[in-house]
């Protein structure tokens, strides 16, 4: 079994109102020095395939078909163990 972590983030240029709101909240906490915030998602997945190539192929499918909306989002896959 392998552990994989998938990050889904908004593509550049896509307006992120939630990120903007968080940015504003950080400012209101007087936490200085943060220029911008973009919010994304993290998925931790257990994969039953031992072969990393095969596992990656499956995870890619998971991203393309469900976890990310590729109209507005990018994804990245990493194996954590």
């Amino acid at each position: 079994m392998m552990m994989a972590r998938i990050h889904v983030t908004l593509k550049n240029g896509v307006l992120d109102p939630q990120g903007k709101a968080i940015e504003g909240a950080l400012k209101s906490l007087s936490i200085d020095g943060i220029d911008s915030v973009r919010q994304g998602k993290v998925f931790d997945l257990e994969v039953s395939h031992a072969d990393q190539g095969k596992a990656k192929e499956i995870l890619k499918q998971a991203c393309e078909r469900l976890l990310a909306n590729t109209v507005i989002e990018n994804y990245s896959i990493e194996f954590v163990s």
């Binding site: 109102p17 909306n69 109209v71 507005i72």
Partner: protein, 233 residues
């Protein structure tokens, strides 16, 4: 003429849609559960109602769009059958690839629930026949994620092919940023598929069919659909 209304967990506007369809046709539509693999034989119109399918988990409409029944809806649309998605139904149609683009969080982050004017961009479609061209109708909006977004090429294609069905406007039909409740590109409230047999829209025409509860401007959509479909049958 056979009309079905899809049911997903978390949908809550299916009975409103059914009422509007029954009012227009004189017959109750059939409800179809999301786990089914096929639509009932002879289905002419599929309505994907509003609500909060799967609690809006992952992305609005994302999980419902992968339900078994959506493959059958895709085949129905490919055959030229009519599909009408309202609010969450619009989000589901975008997520399922039946319509382009995506509905993002409203630009001011607020859930908007209010009456809203729409301009009917064209009335030569199966969905808008009962309206006048550029008629201003008043319906309601109730959504947190209605901010229509797509890439520049798709937007140009939608505009070039006249596939914008409705735009958010004022009472005189003027379209501006001030009349845009949620930040949608070009004030888009609803769009058609390339063959004009699929319509998705964020506002709720099914809630404006009775003078007792605010007006009847929504009736035209259901009457157009039923009338058109009967004529074709």
């Amino acid at each position: 003429m056979k009309v079905v209304v899809l049911r997903f967990p978390g949908i809550n506007r299916e009975n409103d849609s059914a009422r509007a369809l029954a009012q227009a046709s004189g017959r109750d539509p059939e409800f179809v559960w999301h786990g089914e693999y096929d639509l009932p034989g002879g289905t002419d119109i599929v309505v994907v109602p509003g609500g909060f399918s799967y609690g809006d988990y992952l992305r609005c409409g994302a999980i419902a769009a992968r339900a078994n029944i959506m493959d059958a809806v895709r085949r129905h649309a490919e055959r030229g059958g009519f599909v009408f998605g309202i609010c969450n139904g619009f989000q589901i149609l975008c997520e399922s690839g039946l319509l382009p683009g995506v509905l993002m969080r409203n630009r001011d982050l607020k859930f908007i629930c209010k009456m809203q004017n729409l301009r009917v961009e064209r009335n030569d479609t199966q969905f808008a026949r009962r309206y006048r061209n550029n008629q201003v109708i008043e319906v309601c909006v109730a959504h947190g994620e209605g901010n229509y977004l797509t890439d520049a090429d798709t937007l140009a294609e939608l505009e070039g092919e006249g596939r914008v069905a409705f735009r958010y406007c004022d009472a005189n039909g003027a379209v501006s940023d001030a009349t845009n409740p949620n930040g949608s590109l070009h004030n888009i409230a609803g769009i058609y598929s390339a063959r004009f047999n699929v319509l998705g829209m964020m506002p709720h025409p099914e809630n404006l069919i009775d003078p007792l509860v605010g007006g009847t401007d929504g009736r035209g959509l259901f009457e157009s659909l039923i009338q058109q479909s009967s004529a074709a049958a």
